[in-house]
Amino acid sequence: MRQYFGRKLLVYALTFVVAVTVNWMIPRFMPGDPVAGMLARTGVSQPAAVEAMRVYYTDLFGFDRPLWEQYANFWATLLRGDFGISIWLFPTPVSTVILRAVPYTLALMIPAVLLSWWAGNRLGAYAARRRLLDNTVLPVGYVLTAMPYMWLAVLLAWGLGVVAGWFPVAGGYAFSLRPALTGEFLLSLVHHWVLPFLSLFLVALGGWAIGMRNMIIYELESDYATYLAALGAPAKLIRRYAFRNAVLPQITGLALQLGVLVAGALVTEIVFSYPGLGSLILKAIQNQDFFLLQGTFMFIVIGVLVANFVIDLVYVVVDPRTRAGMAGAQA
């Protein structure tokens, strides 16, 4: 088990280093002068503000210093939690802007990831033993996984939002309200949450259902299942064993899919102008706010790493082999 975690932690640490390095390299090795470019693009007209920004950028990038020193400084500021200052919302620090958006993204992601995984596995397991259900779950599952997240979001917004008028299609809460802990605000929050959640949930659901169905069929055909059946074990018991075995790869799959799900959440937020990280990224791109872009990137990387680590912990609890130290190198 120590070896298993040792390897995992090494990969996570290296991933973090690579991500930070990529983040550092991009403005330095892309063509053009980033400071002049950024100042030109900001559209800030007050000379005092422009001068403040110029001093700030030059200091932050430290282009006059040797490369290794720039790299070390980048790490130092990053580890202090300093992502720089947003250009779009000058002079708010990037970390403040991001922390304001994160709760919305988490409120969307965590239920969507967990519920789609749970429901998809259930559905797949049922489909594996009922012919009728299988004939509907499988095609629907393929259509759902093949759908781009944003298109399903667009369809839901159009169908349930514009045409039916049941749900609002933009924002995280009604425009007339200000964030506060009142019943009215919370209700509005939930009302705006439904459609983006639904689009994330549905696309992810299809993939899990198909994966689980295939896995269960594979397990039910394996030696231990035939052996149990030959011994006269009830079908229910065999199915329970098959389910337990089939769930393990699905947990690994969850870790692998996480990056895709994050991407899905980002584009879904953009469709619904949901005030999370996705909309923030769009604003950052439109306003050429590279500090904000880099900050959100670091935040997403950290989030994915933490989530992966949690999945690893769950895996150890569920799979006794990892505890015994037999497996580990592969996962």
Partner: protein, 296 residues
């Protein structure tokens, strides 16, 4: 002496191939999936030629016309013909998928084969690299790179998609190579003094060609999806039109609120159809190559 088993192996693969073809044309999933992709591909390739000189972003008619005989998919809020855009967009989307998927497949094959065949320290290092790229949320990397690039083309976009989407495929190829490495015919090839690249290209790769083909199909579908996401965020090619760009324009110019469903339904439907058909064809291929899965 060494030539006999190799020659036999060749003859055997030819028989296997003929058999695969036999089952392929009888597999409904495979035929339907590839058929659908082929129809859309032909539409994308031939459509622009048949439509003549009209550029996809030209203003050709009154704005917001519903589908009619003259404008098959209606017009946009600017009076652009949606069908023309759709046909040109298909082309771009296929190009992004094929290029991105191809680049990813090549990287995955190089990394997977080398790691699986050489083993030891090389494997250790490559495996670590694979795991790192696997964990990084690639869309976020693509966002930053694309945002910094001034001029964006389909080729550049596909290159970056390819560079970031290979890890799972590399891992799968590595596992397959690992199991083939210890077989007799590979040992024989090694004893007869063939170099590593040759053994991989002549002995190992042909034995998993079906698997490699299926991997490429999945990478192709994945690239189509990533490319359309990037286009949708506004980081698509700066010139021309793609299905993702159409979706972006439609939502940006309130096609939803104005009820211009003909503007945003076809492009999304086409992306779903391409990717879904590829997935279904892949299941069909699996049944063709794996006798265990054949039902009839």
């Amino acid at each position: 002496m060494t030539t006999t088993p190799l020659a036999e192996g060749r003859a055997e693969t030819r028989v296997v191939r003929r058999e695969a073809l036999h089952f392929a044309v009888r597999n409904g999933k495979l035929v339907t999936g590839f058929g659908l992709v082929l129809v859309l591909l032909l539409l994308g390739v031939l459509g622009p030629l048949l439509l003549g000189v009209t550029a996809p972003n030209e203003y050709v008619a009154a704005p917001m016309l519903p589908p009619s005989a003259e404008h098959w998919l209606g017009t946009t809020t600017f009076g652009q013909d949606v069908f023309t855009q759709f046909v040109y967009g298909l082309r771009t989307t296929f190009a992004a998928g094929a290029l991105g998927g191809g680049i990813a497949a090549v990287i995955a094959m190089v990394v997977g084969f080398v790691a699986g065949y050489r083993g030891g320290l090389v494997d250790e290092v490559l495996n670590m690299l694979t795991n790192i790229v696997l964990v990084i949320p690639t869309l976020a990397v693509l966002l930053i790179i694309n945002a910094y690039l001034g001029i964006r083309s389909v080729a550049v976009q596909a290159l970056f998609i390819g560079l970031t989407s290979w890890p799972w495929a590399a891992r799968a190829i590595r596992a397959q190579t690992f199991s083939l490495r210890g077989r007799d015919f590979v040992d024989l090839a090694r004893l007869s003094g063939l170099t590593t690249p040759r053994i991989i290209a002549r002995e190992i790769a042909p034995n998993m060609s079906s698997y490699l083909f299926m991997t490429f199909i999945l990478l192709f579908g994945g690239s189509v999806l990533i490319a359309s996401s990037l286009d949708f965020i506004g980081l698509g090619p700066t010139e021309g039109v793609s299905l993702g760009l159409m979706l972006q324009n439609a939502t940006q110019w309130s096609a939803l609120q104005l009820g211009l469903w003909w503007w945003f339904v076809p492009p999304g439907l086409a992306i779903t159809a391409i990717v879904g058909a590829l997935y279904v064809a892949n299941v069909g291929l699996d049944e063709v190559f794996n006798p265990k899965l054949r039902t009839t």
